[in-house]
């Protein structure tokens, strides 16, 4: 079995996001970038499945600018076998990424495609689902447990009501939740070895995919500041204020 794992480069989750003065986006210059956290879970799970003898190859793929390759390099350092970097500059929407991944699936013919459930920058939560539709493959989203059973997967999903366990046929798309596993650290010797693993570079234009945005971005602005709260003396005052000032009851 061969597993393709999609990874995305995003602003590190610890960084406080700052909106650009001119409202065209957020500041990314000299800001620490990292792999999208649930993508780390996706890589970890793929590597674990391979280590358990249930997969033969793990291929990491990213779509993005020149520096996005760091994300693939990190995936190689924690156990992926080789990488693919589809180069695109500028804004990328989930549909464009799904279409590119579809082309990569046609080329690589994996049995499974893993990725994070959503990216922490745009929070779209669409790429996996769109890829599933484009390929007409079954999907298991928000996976917190994956069991490989012959040509099937038993996947536990994190849903609003609790946990749902489903069985799907391979080939399939799985989007991974943060609870799926604890990603390992890249060790120094493995980082060294990863430098020698191959990364294939593909220009998006060579795949014949139209990546132009379908949405027009009007303005990016900070959410309004929360106003300071007030202390009330008793329940009666609270009810009165909720009724007359906040007008919520």
């Amino acid at each position: 079995m061969k597993i393709l794992v999609a990874v995305k480069r995003v602003i590190d989750y610890n960084v406080q996001i700052r909106v650009k003065e001119d409202g065209t986006g957020v500041v990314t210059d000299n800001v620490k970038m990292s792999t999208n956290p649930p993508d780390d879970n996706a890589i970890e799970e793929a590597v674990k499945i391979k280590e358990a003898g249930n997969a033969t190859e793990v291929v990491a793929v990213t779509v993005g600018e020149e520096k996005a390759q760091e994300t693939v390099r990190k995936a190689l350092a924690v156990g992926a076998d080789r990488g693919i970097h589809v180069k695109v500059d500028g804004i990328l929407e989930p549909l464009a990424v799904s279409k590119i991944l579809q082309k990569i699936v046609d080329k690589e013919k994996p049995d499974l495609v893993f990725m994070g459930k959503q990216a922490i920058d745009d929070d779209c939560n669409q790429t996996g689902q769109m890829l599933s539709a484009l390929l007409n493959w079954p999907q298991a989203t928000f996976a917190s447990k994956i069991d490989v059973k012959d040509n099937k997967l038993e996947v536990t999903r994190e849903i609003d009501e609790g946990l749902e366990t489903i069985e799907i046929n391979v080939p399939a798309i799985v989007t991974c939740d943060l609870r799926l596993n604890e990603p390992r650290y890249a060790s120094l010797p493995n980082i060294m070895k990863a430098k020698k693993k191959p990364i294939e570079e593909i220009a998006a234009s060579d795949l014949g995919v139209d990546v132009s945005p379908r949405l027009e971005q009007l303005k990016v602005e900070e959410p309004p500041k929360r106003k300071a709260g007030i202390k009330v003396a008793n329940v009666a005052e609270l009810v009165q204020k909720l009724k007359n000032e906040a007008k919520v009851i």
């Binding site: 406080q16 210059d29 000299n30 620490k32 010797p189």
Partner: protein, 539 residues
């Protein structure tokens, strides 16, 4: 337990200006040398914080073509001001009356973090292997006692010391020479100075704590290239410190405050002095209507020449402020750190090629402009132990009339942890409330640093005696850790009427002030798990 090991010609600890300069110079001297550099931050630059007005002298020597290499050195200093602040008044000091070392017209306003990122690119293009996210936590020695290399921190240990599923053992990096470039109060450098008695016969090292905020200000208040320093209010005559305000590119100002850690009043809160300073009319009018976008703090070296330890030992060298090469009256340490790295690289190359002893580092150092600079600057900081006014008068005589050539050397008498007076003998200080416009609390400040340490790891701020803070330090000094820590790591909390000393180590911004100022030297800063700590942008 056996660890994996990797061998290099030279192992460098720390990716600041001194370590990166050492690496670059080594590869320039001999491209075949195997050089690796470890950095504890998640990326190069993320733990770098500095003013910074940059003198290019060392960079001109290291990379003479830096202007063609798209370096982040862009904003030339165009104008200078020096203000003495009273409580609400300010007096402008004519710049022609400033000592030459404090004149900046040939210098640049830069972000040192960005300079380091750029230096790292230069180093990598020369073949240096840079490993961010890997703190060196332990020094390794050969049987003959010489330094053999370092071991990196184990990853994936829980707070009780057990291995988690993700456990990844540290590895040994062995170098023919190991270069320690950790910056001020490096935790390994500290051990080496003690073990090899490198500070024997020297004055105790002196430190300061420096704060920095970046503000995006209104166009009408911004004057790109303006460098302004202040002395005086809010500090009293007996506390050493002052401010800087540098108008950088993109309508940003770098605003900061430095306070000598030899202050005596345990009630003093360096953080609150800085916040209060911003409310002075001369400062407030510049940042009003602007927005604070970054915050950080870091200890710095102030001891200079008298406190500079021996910088070589068997198998290893100290560079930059791991030894203490900052030039205090110049308020600059980047060019001196870089120069010490260049000299270290030349030393190592001759050591490896011609089998010369590492002690030649000292002679090379003595024959360099770096030594001359530090020597001439030596009497400024100790003179301020007589107070601000006498300090300024003496500095005028020493630096303007005699240009640092007075035939005597003043001493630093005390280490900074010895200077606190008992709390009941010193006045309490009533700091104003934060207004959340110009002044802010520590929590919202730390938030801006992007600081994080992986959950459930051992506390990296070690207490030699866990009961001392409550049993002794609280009573005698009102536990000053609550105030000298710029990140709110230390708290005394009351639980059922019993005082408890709490260490919020996940907030630590790696400034090392606690390791320096704790009156009983009860706190030791050790390396947390890799990538922990702040994620500074253009600091």
């Amino acid at each position: 337990m056996s660890r994996e090991s990797m061998e290099y010609d030279v192992v460098i600890i720390g990716g600041g200006p001194s370590g990166l300069s050492t690496a670059i110079k080594l590869k320039q001297l001999d491209t075949n040398l195997n050089v690796c550099l470890l950095e504890k931050a998640s990326e190069i630059g993320a733990h770098i914080l500095s003013g910074n007005v940059f003198e290019t002298r060392a960079l001109d020597e290291l990379l003479p073509n830096w202007r063609e290499l798209n370096s982040p050195i862009k904003t030339k200093v165009t104008k200078e001001k020096f203000l003495f602040l009273g409580k609400s008044k300010s007096l402008s000091w004519p710049t022609w009356l400033l000592p030459a070392v404090q004149q900046n017209h040939k210098n640049y306003i830069i972000s040192l973090a960005n300079l380091c990122r750029w230096l790292a690119e230069q180093a990598e293009s020369l073949g240096v292997e840079i490993f961010p996210g890997f703190p060196a936590s332990e020094i390794l020695y050969n049987e003959d006692g010489s330094v053999k290399g370092v071991a990196t921190q184990d990853m994936g240990i829980d707070k009780d010391g057990n291995k988690k599923d993700s456990f990844e053992p540290g590895i040994e990096l062995l170098g023919k020479v190991t270069v320690f470039a950790e910056g001020c109060r490096g935790h390994l450098g500290k051990q080496l100075i003690e073990k090899f008695e490198l500070n024997k016969g020297k004055d105790p090292q002196q430190y300061g704590i420096g704060f920095k905020e970046i503000w995006q200000i209104e166009d009408k208040n911004h004057e790109e290239g303006l460098v302004m320093h202040t002395a005086g209010w809010p500090l009293d005559n007996n506390t050493y410190g002052g401010s800087f305000m540098y108008h950088a590119e993109n309508k940003q100002v770098f605003l900061g405050y430095v306070i000598g850690l030899d202050y005596k009043n345990p009630h003093l809160s360096p953080y609150d002095e800085f916040q209060r300073f911003k409310t002075h009319p001369a400062i407030k009018k510049i940042i009003e209507g602007g927005k604070r976008i970054s915050y950080g703090a870091r200890a710095l070296i102030e001891g200079g020449f008298q406190s500079l330890p021996k910088m070589f030992m068997p198998g290893a060298l100290l560079v930059g402020c791991d030894a203490g090469t900052l030039n205090m009256p110049k308020i600059k340490g980047s060019h001196t750190a870089m120069k010490s790295g260049i000299i270290a690289a030349e030393t190592i190359n001759e050591h490896l090629k011609e089998n010369k002893d590492l002690s030649i580092y000292e002679n090379k150092f003595k024959n360099s402009w770096l030594y001359k600079e530090l020597f001439e600057a030596r009497n400024v900081k100790p003179s301020f132990s007589w107070g601000l006014i006498l300090g300024i008068i003496f500095t005028g005589i020493d630096q303007i009339l005699f240009r640092g050539k007075l035939p005597f050397t003043l001493k630093h008498k005390h280490a900074d942890h010895e200077t606190l007076k008992p709390a009941n003998q010193m006045p309490k200080i009533d700091y104003p409330k934060y207004d959340n416009v110009i002044t802010f609390d520590k929590t919202s400040s730390v938030y801006l640093t992007g600081t994080n340490h992986a959950d459930n790891q051992p506390v990296h701020l070690k207490l030699k005696d866990p009961d001392l803070p409550i049993n002794y330090t609280l009573e005698k000094f009102d536990e000053p850790a609550q105030r000298y820590c710029p990140a709110g790591v230390y708290e005394v909390q009351k639980e059922n009427d019993v005082n408890k000393f709490v260490i919020n180590s996940q907030n630590c911004i790696h400034c090392k002030t606690c390791d320096i100022k704790e009156p009983s030297q009860n706190i030791t800063w050790v390396t947390p798990e890799g990538s922990g700590g702040p994620r500074y942008g253009n600091m």
